[in-house]
């Protein structure tokens, strides 16, 4: 590729990398939105079956066209902005909720780095050496969408919902971050790819490193459910008491953007939990032949699907927590447990160097 259009090989490599990354980003964003659409359908189906009814089954065979019908309905619905609302922030809030949810997936390694016919191929858009920090930071930006939606709507229900969301997410982020730190300390890296690599190399996902890994995993998942504003921690919406919480004053496409953000966030949390504690594409070895390596993303997606099922299952089972109970669970149970757990992990890691864990293998 030397000298074409007067550009040298290095420049061409950069251009090629940009094009590849753009295509991957396009595929991932559309894949996420497609997954969101069918997540809504499967949620309604599974919820229905758990309540001894069928769920949507009229639009197309088994209701598979239901998300399309819903999408058309939402797109053509009147987009109401309340007269008292702050118009620009009212418009900005759903974007601020959705965009961070979509861009977190850039750093999530779906499969091992491999070679396809001699060309290196990666299953992630970007490999960042502080990938978890990036994911956590972007996830907290997403909270602003909810808070601003509550504030800009100029409605007491929305304001209360936004207030609850901010209080809840900030307190659960601490426990979640500390639980994730356990995995990071174990791996000795913030790079998500490296974290998965360490687990695959040691032959055991971190959730099975007893007791610290398992405790951190449980804390991470509980905090993740709260972070995603899902039942039983869906206090920001709390349809029984706050109308619809922070999105009471939203309709049409702006409302569906909040809806997308919620489900894509669920996918993100599932993916991060799989990466940090279930070993991503474990048990597929990273240095396996290409055909086996290609199964890595499949294993990873199965793990995400299991987490998504768990989210639905919890929603079908558990009633919503009272707000003060939610806060005391976060601050008085999860945070101390995660903190003690992190100290224990750090002690073990300090005594036995990386890779010679006493309770691995």
């Amino acid at each position: 590729m030397n000298g074409i259009f007067g550009l040298d090989g290095r420049t061409w490599d950069i251009i090629l990398a940009i094009i590849t990354a753009s295509i991957k980003a396009f595929v991932i964003v559309n894949g996420l939105l497609l997954a969101f659409a069918y997540m809504t359908l499967s949620e309604r189906k599974v919820l229905g079956r758990m309540q001894a009814r069928y769920g949507p089954n009229r639009a197309g065979p088994w209701g598979i066209l239901q998300p399309i019908a819903d999408g058309i309905k939402l797109a053509f619905k009147e987009d109401v902005t309340p007269r008292q609302a702050n118009r620009w922030i009212h418009l900005l809030a759903p974007c601020l909720a959705l965009v961070p949810a979509l861009i977190i997936f850039a750093v999530i390694p779906l499969g091992p780095e491999m070679e396809v016919f001699g060309v290196p191929w990666t299953w992630h858009v970007a490999r960042v050496n502080v990938a978890y920090l990036y994911a956590a930071a972007i996830a907290s930006v997403g909270v602003y969408g909810i808070v601003l939606a509550g504030w800009a709507s100029n409605s007491k229900y929305a304001l209360l919902g936004g207030l609850r969301a901010s209080a809840q997410v900030i307190s659960y982020e601490l426990a979640q971050g500390l639980a994730a730190m356990t995995a990071i300390v174990m791996a000795g890296s913030l790079d998500l790819y490296e974290i998965v690599n360490q687990q695959v190399a040691s032959g055991l996902p971190y959730a099975l490193y007893l007791p610290f890994g398992l405790v951190a995993f449980v804390v991470y998942v509980i905090a993740g459910v709260a972070e995603a504003n899902r039942a039983p921690f869906d206090l920001a919406e709390a349809e029984g008491e706050l109308g619809a919480g922070f999105h009471t004053e939203y309709s049409g496409f702006k409302w569906s953007m909040f809806f997308m953000a919620e489900y894509v966030n669920m996918i993100n949390i599932s993916a991060l939990a799989s990466v940090l504690f279930l070993g991503g594409w474990w048990p597929i070895p990273t240095d396996a032949p290409g055909v086996v390596q290609a199964l890595g993303p499949v294993v990873f997606l199965v793990k995400i699907a299991l987490f998504m099922f768990m989210f639905i299952w919890l929603r079908a089972t558990l009633p919503r927590l009272r707000f003060d109970r939610l806060m005391s669970l976060g601050w008085k149970v999860l945070l101390p447990v995660a903190l003690v757990n992190l100290i224990g992990t750090a002690t073990v890691v300090a005594l036995w160097p990386l890779g010679t864990w006493p309770f691995a293998n």
Binding site: V46, R49, M50, A52, R53, W313, L314, A316, T317
Partner: protein, 172 residues
């Protein structure tokens, strides 16, 4: 009157026992929902499947006939009198002697039920001295206009019984 003291469950002896009890309760609840996931839904797929309603279901009215095809209703208007929502209108008339409509002296010339007003309480059925009025299992009563919701005899009257070959000697 004897009072029974309400008893709350005894508090767990320590925090660990409490946590174990909580987690057990959580697992039990999750087990219940998972069990239902694999159970058969109770939904009746309505337009394709229809429920077999109980025999005494109170649906649409029907004016019954005797086996010989004559109407049971004698136009006494007791149903209209019993109706708490004033949904029934009956106008009686003398039976024509040569071609009687009902068994008695009188019959219902007009019989109207306003299905918008009807609350399906069944008092009309209880009031009927000749067991002419019945509430049947017909439940698909939706329509588009108020006028079409007022049912006349042409809708309410039971179909005339088929005449068997053995009945051919009967008059009429």
């Amino acid at each position: 009157m004897a009072f029974v003291e309400l008893q709350s469950p005894p508090p767990p002896s320590n925090a660990l026992a409490g946590a174990v009890a909580d987690v057990t309760a959580l697992a039990k609840g999750l087990g219940v929902t998972l069990g239902y996931l694999f159970s058969k839904p109770v939904t009746i797929q309505y337009p394709e499947e229809r429920p077999r309603l109980p025999a005494r279901h109170r649906g649409r009215h029907e004016l019954e006939r005797h086996a010989n095809g004559l109407e049971k209703c004698v136009g006494c208007e007791l149903c209209a009198l019993a109706c708490p929502s004033k949904a029934i209108f009956v106008e009686g008339a003398e039976n024509p002697p040569d071609a009687p409509v009902s068994i008695g002296e009188r019959y219902a010339k007009t019989y109207l039920v306003n299905m918008i007003r009807c609350i399906f309480c069944g008092y009309c059925v209880e009031a009927c001295p000749t067991e002419a009025l019945q509430l049947k299992r017909v439940f698909e009563l939706a329509d588009y206009t108020r006028e079409s919701m007022i049912y006349g005899k042409e809708t309410l009257l039971a179909p005339a019984p088929k005449r068997e070959a053995a009945d051919s000697w009967l008059p009429g």
